[in-house]
Symmetry: C2
Subunit: 274 residues, 2 copies
C-alpha cells in the first residue's frame, strides 16, 4: 500500500492529513475505489469520472475545485501500476469549526494504491463467487440529495457491516420504507419474472460502476423493488468493481438458482482486466 | 487555536491525522463542541458527557474504546483555559479500506481549543441576539439509528449552510416529512399556544446541551411540530452552547414577538459562564 497527496499539480508522497480537514469534521467529500488491469488500464474509468464529477457538482464544489480534482483523477488513471487498486478521496479542504465554506478553501485530494490479485477465470475461482447473504436489519435513510453519489458519510454502512451473520459474504440493505436498495459494499440485482432488475438509487444507495456497465449493456433494468421480492426472486447477484458479479446461492437460508448467464458476465468482466 | 491528540493517556501536542482514519473515510466518529467559563469550568459538562457516551454506545464502540474516550474527555474538562471553547473529536481509529471494524482498532481522539469572548450581558450585547432566519430548502433524512447524537456525518448541514439567504443568521431545517427538526447550527424552539415547544429528535437532528438544560428546567416541552407551525408561532428562539438563547425577530419575512422571558434565559445562561 502506498499513499499520495495531490499538491502543486502532481502526486507527492503522502503528506499527512489535518484534523481540520472538512472530510474528517463533516464527511464533506467523495471517494472512488478503482481497479486497474494487467496493462495498468482502468476499463471503467469513464463511469468513475462521471460519478465523481456528478458528486462534486451535487456537493457544490467550486469550479476551480472540480477542475483540480479531475486533473488529479486523470493523472492517477494514467499512471497506475498493473493489477492494482486505488482509493481516491477528495475533501472540501481544511477549515476551522463551522459549516460555512470559505471562498478560498482548496480541496485535499488523497490517493491510496494497493495490489489486486490478477484475474483468474478458471472454473474453480468462479465457484468462490457463489456467496451467502441475508437481509440486513439496518435500514437506509431516504435522502435524494445524497443518493447515488459516493460521499464520505458512510455511518449507515459501518453499522450495517457490524450486523453481518458469520456466514454472510454480503447483505441486502432496505430503506426505511422497505424498498430494496443495495448491498453493504456492492449493488444488488434480482432475477424476477424472467428479468434481471436492480433498484433505482434516487432515494438512497451508491450507483456503482459495474451496475452502470450492466445497465449500459441492456442486460439489467432499473425498478422499484419491494422487500417482498427477496422471497420471490429466482436468483440474485451482487457486483462491485473489485470482485465483479457474484451469484448468491443462499439468501436468508433459501437456496437460489445460479443462472448460466452469470458465468458469461463474470468472464466478460474479467476480460476487461486482462 | 491549539490542537492536541490523546496518546498514552495524556494530551500531546498535535500529531497529524492519518488519511486511513475511519473518521475521514466514513465519518465514523463523534464530536462535541464545548464552552468553558471565566473559571475554566464547563457548566454543561454532564450533558456533553451523556451525549458522547450515548453516541459511543449507539455507534457500537468497544468498551475499551469508550473508556479511553471518556478518560480523554475528563482530562480535557479538568484542564481548560478560562473563557475558552473546545472541539473534541473521536473517531473509530485507523484502518485500510472496508467497513469491517478490526478487533484491535483504537480510537483517535483530537482536541481543538479556541478562545471564546467573555460573557457580557449588557442590554446592547443582548440585542445582537435578535436574529433573522427562514426555512431552509434542504430537508433532513429520517434515520432513527443516528438521530440525536453528534456524529461526523454532517453533509446535510454542509448543504443547508450553503442555502442561507444573505440576511439569515440561522435557518430551520425540516425533515423529508415536513416536520420541524432543528436549526443548522443550533436547536429551535417555537412559542405556540402559550407554550415553548422544541421538536422531538428521534428521527433526525442533534440533541443540544442547551436544549437539554432548558428541558430540565421545565421551561420548554418536546413535541411533534409540523412545518405549518412556522407560520403560526408567536415567537421563536435558537440555542447552542456557544451563543445561548437567541430570539428571532424576523422569520421568512414575518415579524415575531421578542418575549420577555428570553432575556431571563439569556441572563441565566450567561451566569453559568461567569
Amino acid at each position: 500500500m502506498a499513499i499520495w497527496r495531490w499538491r502543486d499539480q502532481v502526486w507527492q508522497e503522502y503528506a499527512s492529513a489535518n484534523v481540520l480537514d472538512r472530510g474528517l469534521q463533516f464527511g464533506d467529500g467523495l471517494f472512488e475505489t478503482l481497479r486497474f488491469g494487467a496493462d495498468g488500464y482502468c476499463p471503467l474509468a469513464q463511469h468513475h469520472r462521471q460519478r465523481l464529477s456528478n458528486g462534486l457538482q451535487r456537493l457544490q464544489f467550486s469550479d476551480p475545485a472540480i477542475e483540480m480534482t479531475l486533473s488529479a483523477f486523470e493523472q492517477m488513471i494514467s499512471t497506475a501500476p498493473a493489477n492494482s487498486g486505488a482509493k481516491f478521496i477528495v475533501t472540501r479542504g481544511e477549515a476551522p469549526r463551522g459549516y460555512v465554506i470559505a471562498a478560498d478553501v482548496s480541496p485535499n485530494i488523497t490517493l491510496v494504491r494497493f495490489e489486486v490479485a490478477n484475474v483468474d477465470s478458471t472454473p474453480e475461482s468462479n465457484s468462490v463467487h457463489h456467496i451467502t447473504a441475508g437481509t440486513n436489519p439496518i435500514r437506509l435513510a431516504r435522502q435524494p440529495l445524497l443518493a447515488g453519489i459516493k460521499h464520505l458519510n458512510r455511518l449507515e454502512q459501518v453499522l450495517a457491516r457490524q450486523q453481518f451473520q458469520d456466514d454472510w459474504n454480503e447483505s441486502v440493505l432496505l430503506d426505511t420504507e422497505s424498498n430494496v436498495i443495495e448491498g453493504c459494499m456492492s449493488n444488488v440485482f434480482l432475477y424476477l419474472n424472467d428479468k434481471w432488475l436492480t433498484p433505482y438509487l434516487d432515494q438512497a444507495g451508491i450507483a456503482g460502476v459495474v451496475r452502470d456497465w450492466l445497465l449500459e449493456s441492456g442486460l439489467v433494468e432499473e425498478a422499484v423493488i419491494h422487500q417482498s421480492s427477496l422471497v420471490q426472486c429466482e436468483a440474485m447477484i451482487f457486483c462491485n468493481t473489485l470482485s465483479g458479479p457474484r451469484s448468491v446461492q443462499c439468501f436468508d437460508g433459501r437456496s437460489l438458482a445460479i443462472r448460466d448467464e452469470i458465468q458469461d458476465w463474470q468472464e466478460a468482466f474479467n476480460r476487461l482486466y486482462r
